[in-house]
Point group: C2
Chain length 242, copies 2
């Protein structure tokens, strides 16, 4: 059986993938999905994505043992336990914990993916694992695959495009048909695979993160296949099969 | 002075470039802009892009010496002198002639670009020349540059994305700031520059053209820098400075 693979460039276009009935992989490489993957790899019990600050704070007040995490404008909101830097999500901080996470683009892409039967969480950190798991699920369910790039502030972002290409480059051992957009992302990734981080640092969002002092987050997030996990979003929380 | 360079993925998004006041380069590599460039390089006096078949036929009936050209579904409409294959536009057929051209995506991108102060016509065939001319005009007028990809049937197309990258790779000798989308297109082009035609043939539109028997058009259109001309659209017709 042949599987069609495509990619959408913007969080808002997740709804198109839902309409087509695609299996979705959401990518927000800098930094939301890298943070989620790191948190779960380091033992967090679950990550609950929440759109608004208000809703996040309310959920926390009702569940004092949850960690409150996220960013606005790249920075940790006041009173939060954790920002949106994957480096903060050490085993010591997150093991066994439920984390409420509110970010700008990634949370929106997840929200817009509700309604898809399967929503996986992708990043450079778990490109191989999420590709393998998504492929076997798609083959099993007879579905096509769409990688939804979150983008930055509603616009196309280089890092999510290249990250989509990294995941696509791991969709092997099956009869795969790439759309033009998927082919483009694949070519983009292949062209800078050997010098990934230096090229990702040229993106507009990277430049802003560097100004804010988060250069180490970019370096960390550009590590391909650091974690062999494929977290998925069940409509309430992102979890990983243990 | 620094010039921002970006690219839009779809004909309809030309309006954004117009709103920003950008200098526009319209690309529809398979085959509209390749056809226009070839016609003008081979001595055509001007190419008048027209959206509808009806309007094209009316203009022809009022101007019996014009050539009527274009496609619907890739094929030459009945009663037309020329299709949308650049190979038909030989000096013998087009020299000195005014050509009425109606196509699906390219004509729409041109129409949506009306209102921009400058609209150039780009393709692989004239990537270097159009880049140089656009850059010197943009520097002169203090404008940014946007390459508008026509796409295919309202969707992203690989060939226009890669062609945008080919033009961007020729925007040199100036202080250029690439957007994330422009950077992605540039990387895509660089990754397949040495094997351009074989990769362009993987696009969805290429496959359809090959089915229709137009494989030679793809090969012809993938020749980089065959023609050193930079045609521009004055709102009525596409012409080239002689």
């Amino acid at each position: 059986m042949s599987i069609n693979v495509t990619t959408e460039f913007l969080a808002r276009d997740a709804v198109r993938a839902v309409r087509r009935g695609d299996l979705i992989i959401v990518v927000d490489a800098l930094r939301c999905t890298s943070t989620i993957v790191t948190a779960l790899a380091n033992g967090a019990r679950e990550v609950i994505p929440v759109k608004s600050l208000g809703k996040a704070r309310k959920m926390r007040s009702e569940n004092p043992d949850y960690l409150l995490a996220g960013e606005r404008g790249g920075l940790k909101p006041s009173g939060f336990d954790l920002g949106n830097s994957p480096l903060e999500y050490t085993p010591e901080r997150v093991s066994g914990k439920t984390i409420i996470l509110t970010t700008t683009s990634g949370t929106k892409a997840l929200e817009n993916s509700k309604g898809a039967q399967r929503v996986f969480i992708g990043s450079f950190l778990n490109a191989g694992a999420v590709a393998r798991e998504a492929l076997s699920t798609a083959l099993n369910d007879g579905r096509d695959i769409c990688i939804v790039q979150s983008g930055t502030n509603g616009a196309f972002s280089l890092e999510d495009f290249i990250c989509a290409g990294a995941i696509i480059s791991n969709l092997t051992d099956a009869d795969i048909k790439l759309s033009d957009a998927a082919q483009a992302a694949y070519l983009g990734f292949k062209s800078i695979e050997k010098n990934l981080c230096a090229n990702i640092m040229k993106s507009e969002h990277s430049k802003r993160l560097i100004e804010l002092g988060f250069v180490e987050d970019i370096k960390f997030s550009c590590q391909v296949n650091l974690f062999p996990i494929a977290p998925f979003y069940d409509g309430r929380a992102v979890i990983v099969r243990r």
